[in-house]
């Protein structure tokens, strides 16, 4: 069965809720968030630091082939309850997006399926909308560049 990712972002609010059901037992789903080597694989970034405990912190970094840092993110962990809940802050370096508060709730559905609910709270409505639009704007830019490439070949 195709599992659907649902994003709820109500107008005029500064938070979003992302939910997804997984074809995975709860323990395996949680492990994907717990083990740095696994986080590296699905986030596509290096995990420099990950202290999974109250008052712990984490740090992600991605560098390109030349060693330039292209992505940097970090945050503080406020709650780490195995197979149940993670509460942390998330801040992307060198961006105007500010700090967001993330609450992850993990839930067992059956022995083989589980559910994740991500609640993300931003500093303001404007900031939330900016973050939401980012992949869209990147997509537009990409499509625009692609179109220009095609058009320039026609000339």
């Amino acid at each position: 069965m195709e599992r659907q990712t649902k994003v709820t972002a109500e107008d005029g609010k500064q938070d979003i809720i992302i939910t997804r059901e997984f074809d995975l037992p709860l323990e395996l789903l949680f492990k994907a968030y717990e083990e740095p080597e696994i986080v590296e694989q699905w986030m596509g970034t290096k995990v420099l630091k990950m202290e999974n405990k109250k008052h712990g912190s984490y740090q992600f970094e991605t560098t390109d082939a030349k060693g330039n840092v292209v992505f940097q993110a970090n945050g503080a962990i406020h709650e780490f309850s195995p197979n149940r809940k993670i509460t942390r802050t998330f801040e992307m370096g060198n961006t105007p997006f500010g700090v967001q508060l993330e609450v992850y709730e993990f839930e067992k559905l059956t022995d083989d399926t589980s559910k994740l609910k991500m609640h993300v709270i931003y500093e303001s409505i404007a900031q939330r909308d900016q973050v939401l639009k980012m992949p869209f704007v990147q997509g537009i830019n990409w499509a625009h560049n692609r179109l220009q490439e095609i058009v320039s070949k026609l000339k």
Binding site: R3, T5, L24, A32, I38, W42, L116, L132, P135, F136
Partner: protein, 107 residues
Amino acid sequence: MNLRRDVFQAIADPTRRAILLLLATQSLTAGAIASNFDTARPTVSKHLQILTECELLEQEQNGREIYYHINAQGMKEVADFLEPFRKMWDDRFKKIEAIMKNYKPKK
């Protein structure tokens, strides 16, 4: 009036989408636009009218000619801007599922 729904209806039509694509990089007159389609000129005019009413296109008077060009702001508002965000997360979740299905405990 539900303008948003009208806009979605506007871009649901393949000819209107082709017109938008044609105008992506240039301004053209109604005649020039129509010459790109096999459809009758009045039909193309009707499409242009709908796209203009939905604020996807703007008209610009240049001498005796009226040129049509894309209203970038209108286009941005139309597209479902949430979908790429949702897809980004869905791709990550799919990866988690794939990785964890092959996961073997180290011990």
